[in-house]
Amino acid sequence: MIDFVQNTIDGVMIGSSYALLALGFTLIFGVMRRLNLSYGPSIMIGAYLGTWIYVQAGAGPLAVAAAVVLGAVLAGVYVERLCFAPMGFAAGIASMVSSFAIWMQLEQAAILVLPRHTYPFPPLATGAPLTLGPFLLRVDHLIMLACALGLAAGVQIVLYRTRFGLALRAIIGNPTAAHLVGINVKAAVLGAFAAASALGGVAGYLVLATDQQVTPMFGMWATMKGLIAMMIGGLGSIPGAVLGGLLLGVVEVHSQWYFGPQVRDLVAYLLLFVVLVVHPGGFIGRAPGREGTMPEQRA
């Protein structure tokens, strides 16, 4: 019983990193109705920038965090300019494949700059874990959970309480109509991309500070975990992204505990497949009406 509760706590903590990754994904998908496969690799560019200034100049945690976010935003804007902006809203598949091509490019660029397999990353909080009765809580995990919940609330507020959010929701509803009422669609989309990449950068920093190392696999890992969490929770829904991330974390930790590490990922994909087949909208999202189809097929 103690193990079960401790595993659930660990699951929620790990899940909060998935929730953070899913937030940025959801923002991009919500606005563009398109999948940015380069999302994880752009975060990895930030991560490599962070570890580079840490290894070269011994930068402190704050500077490293800023570098990760900055790198992720720059790479994210590059992806938007190259894969999304030129294609308009009408070529969903082409954008997706194009973002995959840029994924390969970013990964190779990162390996080229830092060719070793793993690099150290400064920890966020050292020191003994807190104890709560028989249970252990890691400080950096708690910070991650707080950031996930706080940022999710922040994104929700921006989307529903500010003019920028209003503009984004208008674009989600109908890009052409949004343009006609005077919204600068291109700028708003770029802004959403930059914001999503910044969220991804924060997520990446927190995850890496917990792991204390960077590998070239991080890009793919981030894309996959963010994608699964977003799809389980519900496409285009901020609470859905958080719920999906936490649920994914809990399920993963439990399946690892009972069946071993090899089954862990298998169960995650099984969960995704079953959710898609049984209720494609995810737990909170809309059912896949015309809304969920690719823009190309909507036309």
């Binding site: 390969m104 190779q108 087949v277």
Partner: protein
């Protein structure tokens, strides 16, 4: 021909099967990130058939196609009502499940004092049919291209048949196709099964070409790449995906001098190409124009006074 060239060309031929598999689904309007799963299933099935059950190669390839096709049709059923992104992610999830299952898959028997068979994440060694039967690399390449040519003829016939038109109609607008009396569900499962069988044949050939398969070969990269080949090469004709494979593997091999920058150049190239031509080089319009040119030349030739 030197061994290196034979190796590259054989590789191009084998990967073309997965690319065509993804292309067939693109015709029906579905994006699959998961065709590598059926490639893997075909590879393991055909490898087990020759290396462990001592089947002949032809039967093993048929077996690979059958297992690939059957499993694809089975996955096609629950994913039938999914579209677009949902379908793409469901196929991706399935393919990753298949890859992880192969990492757990243990099935080994003692043959001539040696353990042969799939050994989890370590892969499946010793698929040595072509060595044991004195088939040269050139002959095996011939086999690959003969099967590929047969597949292309199949696609050519398909494009001219009612079935092919139905596939494209479903791809354009499945509701409209349904209203025109096309049994959309049956056609979609059929397309999924055919695509799976194609990938299965490719997998069987791949297993015998490399003599060794391991689960990590069949990761998402392979799936997205095989989808990308059709989009780079063009969605207008079955030659499109082949052109895509040729550009990718051909270019990758030819600019190997740039080793470290390979993916940077290729990735950028693909992204730029897709801006200029979102439906690939040989898209429907180009194919239509080429067809008209060909037709005009043909009638001109026939009309010409002898």
């Amino acid at each position: 021909m030197d061994d290196y060239l034979i190796g590259v060309l054989s590789n191009i031929g084998v990967i073309s099967f997965v690319a065509l598999s993804a292309y067939l689904l693109l015709l029906t309007g579905e994006i699959s990130f998961g065709q590598q799963a059926f490639f893997a299933i075909g590879a393991y099935s055909a490898g087990i058939a020759t290396a462990m059950w001592s089947w002949p190669l032809s039967a093993a390839l048929v077996f690979g196609a059958a297992t690939g096709g059957a499993s694809a049709a089975l996955v096609g059923l629950p994913t039938l009502r999914l579209h677009g992104l949902y379908f793409a992610i469901a196929t991706l999830a399935f393919a990753e499940m298949v890859r992880l299952l192969f990492e757990l898959f243990q099935y080994q028997v003692l043959i001539d004092g040696e353990l042969v068979g799939p050994n989890g994440a370590d892969g499946f060694r010793g698929i040595r049919y072509i060595f044991q039967n004195d088939i040269s690399a050139l002959q095996f390449m011939g086999l690959i291209y003969a099967l590929l040519a047969a597949t292309l003829v199949g696609f050519l016939l398909l494009e001219r048949s009612v079935l092919g038109v139905s596939f494209r109609m479903i791809g354009e607008d499945s509701v409209l196709a349904q209203l025109q009396g096309i049994a959309v569900a049956r056609h979609k499962v059929l397309a999924a099964g055919l695509a799976g069988a194609l990938a299965g044949i490719g997998g069987g050939l791949y297993a015998h070409l490399t003599t060794y398969v391991e689960p990590r070969v069949f990761d998402v990269m392979l799936g997205v790449l095989s989808l990308a080949y059709g989009l780079i090469g063009g969605l207008g004709t079955a030659l499109g995906p082949l052109l895509g494979v040729l550009i990718d593997i051909g270019l990758l091999e030819s600019i190997r001098a740039l080793a470290g920058y390979r993916m940077i150049i290729f990735g950028g190239l693909v992204a730029l190409l897709l801006i200029v031509r979102p439906r690939g080089l040989l898209d429907e319009r180009v194919v239509h124009h080429l067809g008209r040119l060909w037709h005009r030349a043909w009638t001109h030739m026939r009309m010409a006074p002898r």
